[in-house]
């Protein structure tokens, strides 16, 4: 068991990578064998994530060095800088790991019957595993170059999945836009890495943070990294690709592409907190993050309420909800250099922002799945042509209500718990920001009420009288997320103390991230 825990970071990335290439071969034995293989391998990966999480929460940062005589040996004998490829899993990394794994598990189960009868299923599952490996690698990596590599893996797999339904012209367009913005973003990440490597001759994030001189070139690199990750996480005004891509991606994978966007948000946090830390003007950077957050919240929700395409509406809400996370973290970053403000409300704002990531991924994944459940049965996304679906799709309606109430911040669901943390703490920083956040929640509720009325209520439409509920595997996939939403809503204290607070601590405590690799070096 100890050996399994030690090697779990490598296995969590290597197994889905191998599975991705094995799936086309296993598919030759039949779809049933392939589905069982997918579930068994992913069940084992989820188990590995669970034991790694227990290890990180009980022991501390888990460093895994590839090719070292002992996996935790970050510095080879006689060296003062790490030279090997390395994973560094702290509270924030494993928090992302839990999110990504849960969403992928729900998506995998949901897709079993969603894809029934479609062509190219083996490729679909291969890309799904690749996307998972890319996201987990990005969350775990301890060096800059592999951050770029995993970003590329996730981007290519995500674009392939977005364009999976090649019979739909807009799917190909959505996939194309995703790969264009991803490739340009990744290129700038690589350019920024080049700037840092040219100055310090190291790629390890911890070593770079240790030796960072905060030169003008370093600040330019931060600007490039920040811009690239804001583009990937669809922050306003770089959000325009997201509705085009999220709308067309198949049901199970939309939540995964959404999770990939939040992995980019994770990378942004890793850069600003762990790499650059508290030695730069964090107030200025914090305010940049806050402004992007507020713009995302407001423009996202105002565009969402205007939409008549159900998935496009949800995509704009994803942009809007991302704004809450940026707002919480931005406030934390703005006051990180002020210990009193950080203790009074900065840490709570960060807790709220981080808690909102997991809450949002769960309820937005559920909402995307309900939208695709409707598309699965009636073949349209236009809410103008919908009506009375609650009569025949009772489970889907119930899941939609749970997701809609959660995203609107209605108590006692999970969205309320994290939004309350953000409202209360941001109010102490700047009341205007808190009022904007509350207004956005109100418009969110109005937007989801509009879709609920037009799609689910009303008289039975003659065209949809024979519509049936979706198959069981799709219901199970949605149930997993619905149960988690309710559980997180009822026990927010448990979630905040167990997984959110360690993630916040991991970001704030830059020294422990550096020391886990660099030890007591001068």
């Amino acid at each position: 068991m100890d050996s399994l825990i030690t090697h779990s970071p490598a296995l969590i990335v290597a197994l889905p990578l191998l599975a991705a290439f094995a799936i086309p071969l296993i598919n030759r034995a039949g779809p049933r064998v392939r589905d069982i293989f997918n579930l068994v391998i992913f069940g084992f990966i989820a188990f590995l994530v669970a034991i790694l999480a227990v290890d990180v929460y009980s022991v501390g940062i888990h460093v895994y060095t590839f090719g070292a005589t002992a996996a935790e040996l970050a510095l080879p004998g006689g060296y003062t800088v790490p030279v090997r490829i390395m994973f560094e899993v702290d509270g924030m990394s494993i928090f992302m790991g839990i999110i990504i794994t849960t969403v992928t598990l729900a998506a995998l189960i949901y897709s079993l019957q969603f894809l029934k009868g479609r062509t190219g299923q083996a490729r679909f599952y291969s890309l799904m595993m690749l996307l998972y490996a890319g996201m987990m690698g990005l969350a775990f990596t301890g060096d800059m170059f592999n951050l770029f590599v995993f970003l590329e893996i996730a981007s290519i797999a995500g674009a392939g999945l977005a364009a999976y339904r090649t019979n739909m012209a807009d799917a190909i367009e959505g996939g194309f836009k995703y790969i264009v913005i991803s490739a340009v973003s990744a290129l700038l990440v690589l350019f920024a890495i080049g700037i840092l490597y040219a100055q310090y001759n190291v790629l390890s994030i911890a070593a770079l943070a240790h030796y960072m001189q905060y030169t003008t070139l370093d600040m330019m690199a931060l600007g490039l990294l920040g811009g690239a990750f804001v583009m990937k996480l669809a922050g306003v005004p770089l959000h325009m690709w997201a509705p085009d891509t999220y709308t067309v991606a198949p049901a199970g994978t939309t939540p995964m592409i959404l999770a990939a966007s939040y992995t980019a948000m994770y990378a942004l946090y890793r850069m600003t907190f762990s790499l650059y830390g508290g030695h730069i003007d964090t107030t200025a950077i914090g305010w940049i993050v806050i402004i992007v957050g507020v713009l995302s919240m407001f423009i996202g929700v105002m565009m969402a309420v205007h939409q008549t395409d159900i998935k496009r509406m949800m995509a704009y809400h994803a942009i809007s909800q991302g704004g809450y996370m940026l707002l919480g973290l931005g406030v934390g970053l703005a006051v990180i250099a002020d210990p009193v403000a950080l203790a009074n409300y900065g840490r709570d704002a960060m807790n709220g922002g981080i808690f909102h990531i997991i809450n949002h991924v769960f309820y937005k994944a559920l909402l995307f799945m309900t939208a695709e459940a409707i598309f699965f049965r009636i073949g349209i996304r236009d809410t103008n042509k919908m009506g009375g679906l609650a009569r025949n799709m009772k489970w889907t309606t119930a899941f939609y209500i749970i997701g809609a109430l959660a995203i609107s911040g209605i108590p006692p669901l999970n969205g309320f718990a994290s939004k309350l943390l953000i409202y209360e703490s941001v109010l102490r920083f700047n009341p205007v920001l808190s009022v904007i956040a509350m207004f956005v929640s109100l418009v969110t509720l109005a937007s989801f009420a509009k879709v609920f009325y037009s799609a689910f209520t009303g008289p039975p439409m003659p065209a949809y009288k024979e519509v049936k509920e979706v198959p069981k595997s799709m219901i199970i996939g949605m149930s997993i997320l619905a149960v988690l939403i309710i559980f997180f809503g009822l026990f927010p204290g448990l979630i905040v103390n167990t997984i959110v607070a360690p993630a916040t601590e991991a970001l704030i405590n830059q020294a422990s991230y550096i020391n886990a690799v660099m030890g007591a070096l001068p």
Partner: protein
Amino acid sequence: MSVVDYGYAVWAPLIWIIALVVIGVMVLIWRSRGQKSYKKGTAQTDIFLSGAKVPPEEERHVKSENIYWGFFESLKELYGAMMRPHTGIVNDYLLWFVGVLAVTVAILVLAG
């Protein structure tokens, strides 16, 4: 486990649910004391549109695009300004990217 307490605010969902159930029971009791002469399926429940002909059931559903019409009408200018950059053309997305990068790098270099 359930309570989030961070000094200046507390959120206890289980207490909130208990309060909601109590209020729900009170509402039901109040409702049970209401008018009992309501007869389902009679002329009492027919739709009355000031004497105009009531359209068939499937035509009565208000379309999504008509909901909140007044809200969108009053914010027409704001929506016009917000919609303009959403061209759907990937070249425009990248132009925004270049612009935002230039501003971000300039701010960071000046503030750094």
